[in-house]
Symmetry: C2
Subunit: 230 residues, 2 copies
DNA sequence: ACCTGAACACCGTTCAAGT
DNA sequence: ACCTGAACACCGTTCAAGT
């Protein structure tokens, strides 16, 4: 529905063989781009090779000339999101530089909340993920942190980032963010025989994701900062 | 392969109608149990309603008398894992009690590493998840932490737990844990033009998950502890 | 070199029919 | 009340055939 197509499409469905001159040629990039658009609209579980092909006005099997399989498409989506993380400024305190990477990471994920789990739940060994990783450790090394310790701190911080963002993107727009919404959930919380839960139920029912992220980021980065020499 | 079946099975495939007296009757619990066993053996993505039914020696459609749909089965698996978290001792310092919950959570996930993502990636609003949540906040409240702050701290710590465990269970048994294995990955790391990465590459290539978890847990809980009054 | 379509081996789930 | 099987509308992917 309502997908604005560029003028460049392959011809009517009867076609066969090479595309006519002037039509956009297929490529891994274009496949991933179409897949990401589809995920943004319909969600990760709604994606299929056949739907991606349909959106590109191409036979489903044509995709396999440019990607290995569906998993490769998901890898491509993850890379695309990671590429959206801005390079942080190289000046500023270690703390400020680490904050910049973390916030850039969050912003990049929130730009495609439905696609974000591809990044957050898979092994990010791709080159696209290495740049932000490097940007995150650099401040620690510059501050004199020994490499071994820097990796520990990096992994702890990354754990927090991944877990927090996964919660945020999974929550969906209609839960946690709206103070009036938590009714049913609140009831669930209070019905249990857990006194410590009933005490915090009102606060659990709402969640300002931005504020929550900043609270946790401050907590973690303060702890990391304290590990630095000097 | 090699699945040890109890004596209680429904008859040969020709059957129809109610099961014969003496055969184990189907139930939500038994469906979830079979599904979990299947996930443990073959992985989350290999699960299907049809395979679960096959393992129970039952028509695939019979499952729908006890679960709403496939997603409901996954919810059941998540609940089962959460139920495996031991109730922590009520005595000890706040710090010790929080550590106990965190380690119990990790142990429960590692008991079913292939199923753990069901817990880690979905909204855990089920009653089974509330008990550990209550056990985790209780020490904070007991220490005089105001409820609002306790929820912030809880969410930050939970973010770390989820992100860390997701990395651990996704890593698989053959990566990170073995010092000799990281060869190819190491080469990927060093080939990039990122000096800060080459500096830490040897440490990134290996990962003792247990030690990493304890490092991060100490980092986070120390930070949380510092927020407590007194 | 790239695109195509038929075909294969699967899916989740609805529904009417059994007992 | 519960189990069954046929049927529907999908999947991802292989392969031989086209241009």
């Amino acid at each position: 529905m309502g997908h604005t197509d560029p003028v460049t499409t392959t011809g009517p469905k009867g076609r066969r063989g090479r595309p006519p001159r002037g039509s956009a040629t297929l490529s891994r990039e274009r496949v991933v781009e179409a897949a990401l658009a589809l995920v943004d609209e319909e969600g990760l579980d709604q994606i299929s090779m056949r739907k991606i092909a349909q959106r590109l006005r191409v036979d489903p099997m044509s995709l396999y000339n440019h990607v290995a399989d569906k998993d490769d498409v998901l890898d491509g989506i993850a890379e695309a999101l990671l590429a959206g993380i801005p390079a942080p400024p190289a000046d500023g305190s270690p703390r400020e530089r680490m904050e910049a990477v973390a916030r850039g990471f969050r912003t990049a994920m929130l730009a495609h909340p439905k696609a974000a789990p591809t990044v957050l739940t898979r092994q990010l060994a791709s080159p696209a993920g290495l740049a932000p990783l490097a940007a995150a450790v650099a401040p620690l090394l510059d501050a004199g942190c020994p490499p071994r310790e820097a990796v520990h701190a990096l992994r702890a911080a990354l754990g927090f980032l991944v877990g927090s963002l996964l919660r945020e993107v999974n929550a969906g727009p209609s839960f946690g963010t709206d103070p009036a919404a938590g009714g049913q959930r609140r009831r669930t919380l209070e019905s249990a025989e857990l006194p410590s839960l009933t005490a915090i139920a009102p606060h659990l029912a709402v969640c300002d994701h931005e504020a929550e992220f900043e609270y946790g980021l401050d907590l973690v980065l303060t702890a990391v900062e304290r590990k630095l020499p000097g």
